[in-house]
Amino acid sequence: MIALLTRDLRLAVRAGGGFGLGLAFFLIVTVLVPFGVGPETALLTKIAPGILWIGALLACLLSLDRILALDWEDGSLDLLATAPLPMEGIVTIKALAHWITTGLPLVLAAPALGVLLSLPTEGYLWLVVSLAVGTPALSVIGTFGAALTVGLKRGGLLMSLLVLPMYVPTLIFGAEVARRGAEGLTVQTPLLMLAGISFGALALLPFASAGVLRVNLR
């Protein structure tokens, strides 16, 4: 399992691996928003948490189809399926590798991008916390979507259609934590809901992903 994780991370860092792609996309989205809505600080401050969350979500979506499709194309998914690793372990490690290469950089870069959207000072901590708690759910749900569409030609678009509705609860509660944090309100309820979604997805979805992957490999 650790071998699979180190292989995926190594592949992501090497040329053509797509490491930083999500981060660059996140950067572009958040830089473009002030150009689009105008430089009014008050307006930007109001929409900053939501924009940062939508940017993170889209950046995450961008790299989802690489999670399993590359291994499917070169045949290593078949070989992994016949290896001693349980399929549930394989999809969990794949989701973890996706989070480390996409979710974690977003969490770390979010404060810097908050400046561009004039996020109030109180908001930074809760923005980072909400992303740190919420992005693992994005990776795990995304891996499920990738497992559903693996092997389909042009499956990336279908996967976006399948995955985006499943991202809605994470987006609502994640952005709510960041918004309440920015306005200095209590964040406990949405944060607990967000953590619940993340833990629930982490506990249940690997089994679903492994199940659909087995069916798709037939």
């Binding site: 699979l4 290593s76 399926a81 016949t82 001693p84």
Partner: protein, 204 residues
């Protein structure tokens, strides 16, 4: 231990392709599957490897004993030859990759990225993967495609070494593998009658 297949029916895309297949493969023996294109050799091998369930019938002695090699080699273009092999060694819980590298004459290529290898070299690397799995039953689909005569001889030696060490090999091919002592199993008589489409119960 032996690999026993009894009264097996395998399907591709819900349509049975082979039915009533019976054979057994003793340790130390090699079996070559023959049959025309589309006969169902690959489907049979995928079923034995556990990638898809059989429609009917029973497979004994497979599961964790199988090392499967498909048409695709499962190599990562951006990893070197050594990194590719040691990844599979770690996955299968073994650690000796040097004998596999020597057996398939990859010594001079160890630091090359797999993406820069020729088709034949990639195939050799894909076959070397079998040796690092440490599994007793090799299930190989067209193992000698794109290999030159010298490499086919290397492959035959590797299979003989594996058989001598108590392993078994099941290979689908229509090219001569250079292993005359292998038994031959022709799948043609077992082709399923057309028109008996299987029902996929999940979509009923």
């Amino acid at each position: 231990m032996e690999l026993t297949v009894s009264d097996l029916t395998v399907a591709r895309g819900g349509v049975p392709v082979l039915s009533g297949v019976n054979f057994s493969l003793q340790d130390g023996r090699a079996l070559v599957l023959r049959g025309p294109n589309g006969a169902g050799k690959t489907t049979l091998l995928r079923t034995i490897a556990g990638l898809q369930p059989p429609l009917t019938g029973d497979i004994q002695g497979a599961g964790e004993r199988i090392a499967y090699a498909a048409h695709a080699d499962g190599l990562k273009a951006m990893l070197t030859v050594t990194e590719n092999l040691s990844f599979w060694a770690q996955v299968f819980g073994t650690n000796d990759i040097s004998s596999a590298i020597t057996a398939f004459d990859l010594d001079k290529l160890t630091d090359r990225l797999a993406g820069t290898l020729s088709a034949g070299q990639k195939r050799r690397l894909g076959l070397a993967r079998l040796m690092v799995t440490g599994r007793p039953v090799w299930v190989l689909d067209e193992p000698t495609v794109s290999l030159d005569a010298a490499s086919v001889a290397l492959f035959a030696d590797a299979v003989r070494g594996h058989l001598k060490a108590g392993g078994a090999a099941l290979m689908a091919t229509h090219i001569d593998l250079g292993i005359p002592e292998a038994d031959v199993f022709d799948v043609t008589p077992y082709r399923a009658k057309p028109g008996v489409a299987a029902q996929d119960e999940a979509f009923l």
